[in-house]
Amino acid sequence: MGFRSYLIKRLILGAIVLWIVATSNFIIFSIQTGNPVYYILNYRMDETQKEMLLQAYGYYDPLIIKYLKYLRNMFSFGLVYPYFGISIKLDKGQYIAHAMVPRLIVTVMLLGFALIGRIIVGIPIGILAAAKRGRKLDVAAVGISLLTWGVPAFFIQLLAVLFFGYILRDLWGIYIFPTTFNPPRFSWDITWFLEAARQMSLPVLTLVAVGFGSWVLYTRNLLLDALTQDFIATARAKGLSERAVLFKHAFKCVLPPITTMITLAIPGVITGAIITESIFGINGIGTWYIQSLQYDIADYGIAQAVLFIFATLVIICNFIADILYGFLDPRIRVGVRR
């Protein structure tokens, strides 16, 4: 099995996942709530107008046609005409895809920064801990990692808001981080991105602080596992320096499993991002999603689109991780079955 067929297999799997997510969205939302067209019917309309509207929105379609239309709508990824449909309540009259773009960018920035930060902080500490196994540094690293495992993210973030927004800024007059997210109107401009990045520094830092522990533990355990292997003993017997053993031999065989860890970490990061957005008032798709599910808003088209986009994000990241895996693990590239 070559690398290409492996990738194709993963792609097919991703498409199946997307289909399952879309279908379950369809089942959950449309069967439970009926047709959201009822929300835009107006008392000023007369019967014929209502009928026309209902027909235009496909209210009288059989379920299978509705489902097929829905699938077409979703799998166009908001790029062509229906643009995921029209928002009924939240962004009245806007196409969902169009309203989503600035929010999606904010969320992707948050997710990306958090993930990259976790990796950048977690892996070196894990390597250090493995290199100094049993010493104080190792114990401290493992202890802190175990601690971050148990702390609820929202608690740390609320504490951060309290500390930087109230105690430091209001009481002591020291301004370090902005604690609210309030960037100017979105534009495809580098200054906008810089400003947004600046304003989401505290959320990203807290997300990193909460999540880097699992990376430390994972890297450390993998490295320790690798260090017991025979080829490490060989390398040491050859007289290589400990640094060379660690980075050239042990770390290289640890990298592929770490990339799979990325795929497993993404749903967790999304969970964290939704909560973070609601704490810091970040106007991303997480808060959008929460709002759309509120009882009095019930804009389920948005909820469907956001769930679908989340799944898409996960699959894209998985795919990237798979490609990385192929580059890092030559056995896959040349088609040796693991």
Binding site: V151, L158, T228, I274
Partner: protein, 663 residues
């Protein structure tokens, strides 16, 4: 059909794994699911039926377990399962709304597990004891594990004895207005000297005594338990003065309220006028009117259509209406009451006329300026100044005196009137309360914290247990069966690992109801994939081993091998994974509650933060952070999760072969 039955009989022969126990556990499972659904929808008849069914089946299972003991069966797995299920069900239903059949089913299952342990064959018992002893020996050398176990035991203790522990502060977590909103903990004085004289919640029941030592002629006072009936017959204008006092040694509160009732009963209407006036004298000698009948009359005069320019309103303090508004900020400056002279006297002086009193019969009226009706003391004071007024009123602490002036003005000879006045109750909502203060509604924070423990532990354990059992079974089946089954299960696992759980969970919870049972189930549904991968890989290496081969050679079928050989071998790994996945479930529930998608009827730790978010803030710039409300739930979640992580880490190091090899 017949073939299937035959196959079933062959798979589970009567002499082997008891068929009865299998069938009854299937029924138990169905009953449990029914109960679950019924409890979620609160369909009580089904719930009751399922509960009864469950109790019966728990009996059957425990009996079967004992029956099986007579044969040559080992019962490790069923005992373990019985213990786990029994513990979870018991812990969850103890004292909650589901108490009843489920609770007893839990107890029975627990008992079956215990019986199972006690009736092991001696050799098996010895093996298990040795295993447990060996495990405990390794475990007791792990400091982190011991710390975690200690914390965990404390939390479980709190969860089980939740009611008495909450009662240390206040037994009910939902009662509002126990004290001032955001009242501090009562031990605050120890760390903050400025708060050492904050008042606790006070309630004074004040009983009147007669101030005039010699009562005027014609007056008689009859005291019932907390009522004073003042009877007057005569022709003269007289004043009867009652008084009482109370000690208030604290700082001024934010609010205060008073309650009393009075009624008047002139025998012949129109023959006598009467009036009641109650004044409060502070230790510094200032006098504040609490109740004055006239006031209502003036108030009525102000707002009529016929009377656009009302007559000047006269206040007992010697100021009239305009004066009252012009001379802010202290319109209630003290009245000189050194000579006992009720208001009507001044009124009569100034306007030289009649005393404006009711002449009609007055039914009983309860005067209640209570905390809920803000402001508490409003007689004669603009409402927005209440806080300041209360501070002025209570600012020099000491002995406060209350005087009640009851005036009779007969209009005819030998007129008769009876006035009834009750005791005076003064309520002061405290600025300090209980072990952990109060939240934004004046509810007890300690009780809410303690009540959250059981829910969190139960959610964590139940979700992790269901997830672990499913993951264990799926992993074993996938690993041992192999082929298409294995492939499809593993692809399913891959797919489920890709789905972001929280958003999906939010959608599901929105539509299926914000019920803690659903939340547990959904967390469990998305919590078994990692374990099943792990178990599968273990089983893949186990099934090549010699003892499996010899079992196959001696004619054991698949089910037998899976249940008797594979499960016991991977059980330790599953145990470690179970403990390690509890904090995940707890944190997940907390996060879900935090964003506002939790069960609104259950007091969980995460919901506290959702409430904080709704109410708008964890600090007040003027008074500081409400740390007694904000910190404890988060710290409790953290501690509980860390305890589970520590224990799980320690167990993992002992049982996990991959980690053990390194040691």
């Amino acid at each position: 059909m017949k073939n299937l039955l035959k196959k079933l009989k062959k798979t589970f022969p009567a002499k082997g794994l008891s068929r009865k126990i299998l069938i009854s556990s299937i029924f138990l499972l169905i009953a449990a699911i029914l109960t679950w659904v019924a409890a979620a929808y609160d369909l009580s008849p089904i719930f009751r039926f399922a509960g009864v069914l469950e109790v019966l089946l728990a009996c059957v299972i425990s009996l079967n377990a004992m029956m099986m003991l007579r044969g040559e069966e080992n019962l490790e797995i069923s005992t373990f399962l019985a213990l786990c299920i029994g513990l979870t069900v018991t812990l969850y239903t103890y004292g909650s709304k589901l108490i009843g059949p489920l609770f007893f089913a839990g107890i029975l299952t627990l008992a079956a597990g215990m019986i199972g342990i006690y009736t092991f064959k001696p050799t098996r018992k010895a093996i298990w004891l040795r295993r447990i002893k060996g495990f405990w020996f390794e475990y007791s050398h792990n400091k982190i594990g011991l710390v975690g176990l200690g914390i965990l035991i404390i939390f479980i203790f709190v969860a089980i004895f939740q009611e008495p522990i909450a009662a240390l502060s206040y037994p009910d977590p939902e009662t509002p207005e126990l004290a001032e909103h955001f009242a501090k903990p009562s031990w605050i004085g120890l760390i903050d000297p400025s708060a050492s004289k904050f008042p606790p919640t006070l309630r004074y029941d004040l009983y009147w005594t007669v101030y005039n030592i010699t009562l005027p002629e014609g007056v008689s006072i009859i005291q019932e338990t907390d009522k004073w009936i003042i009877h007057y017959t005569g022709s003269k204008e007289i004043v009867v003065v009652l008084n009482t006092s109370f000690e208030y040694p604290y700082d001024p509160p934010f609010r205060a309220s008073y309650v009393f009732s009075w009624s008047a009963n002139p025998e012949i209407v129109g023959t006598i006028r009467y009036s009641i006036e109650i004044n409060l004298t502070t230790p510094s000698g200032k006098v504040y009117p609490l109740w004055d009948q006239h006031w209502w009359k003036y108030k009525a005069a102000v707002c009529t259509e016929r009377n656009p320019k009302p007559p000047p309103i006269y206040y007992p303090g010697g100021r009239d209406y305009e004066d009252y508004y012009q001379n802010k900020p202290y319109p209630w400056s003290p009245i000189n009451y050194s000579n006992i002279r009720p208001a009507y006297g001044i009124y009569a002086d100034k306007y030289g006329g009649k005393i404006p009193t009711w002449t009609a019969k007055q039914p009983e009226e309860i005067v209640d300026y209570s905390v809920s009706r803000y402001p508490p003391i409003r007689l004669g004071y603009p409402e927005f100044e209440t806080k300041k007024m209360i501070r002025d009123l209570f600012s020099p602490s000491g002995t406060f005196k209350l005087y009640a002036y009851i005036t009779f003005v007969p209009l005819a000879r030998n007129a008769t009137c009876e006035i009834t006045i009750s005791k005076m109750t003064i309520n002061v909502p405290g600025l300090v309360w209980g072990l952990l203060g109060t939240d934004y509604m004046g509810r007890d924070c300690w009780a809410r914290l303690v009540y959250g423990a059981r829910v969190s532990i139960a959610v964590g354990i139940a979700a992790a247990l269901i997830g672990t059992i499913v993951g264990l079974l799926v992993g074993i089946v996938a690993g041992y069966t192999g082929g298409l089954v294995d492939e499809s299960i593993m692809r399913l696992v891959d797919i489920m690992l890709c789905i972001p759980v929280l958003p999906l969970l939010m959608a599901l919870v929105t539509f299926f109801g914000r019920n803690i049972m659903y939340i547990i189930l959904i967390i469990a549904v998305f919590g078994w994939q990692g374990l099943s991968r792990l178990i599968r890989s273990q089983v893949l290496s186990l099934r090549e081993m010699a003892f499996i081969e010899s079992a196959i050679a001696s004619g054991a079928n698949r089910a037998y091998i899976m249940i008797r050989h594979l499960i016991p071998n991977v059980l330790p790994v599953a145990l470690a994974d179970f403990i390690l996945s509890v904090p995940g479930a707890i944190l997940f529930e907390a996060a879900l509650s935090y964003i506002g998608f939790g069960d609104p009827t259950t007091p969980t730790w995460g919901r506290e933060y959702s409430i904080m978010q709704e109410v708008g803030g964890i600090y007040d710039p003027s008074t500081g952070v409400y740390w007694w409300w904000f910190l404890p739930p988060g710290l409790a979640i953290t501690l509980l999760c860390i305890a589970f992580v520590f224990v799980g880490h320690a167990v993992d190091e002992i049982v996990n072969p991959r980690l053990r090899r390194r040691r």
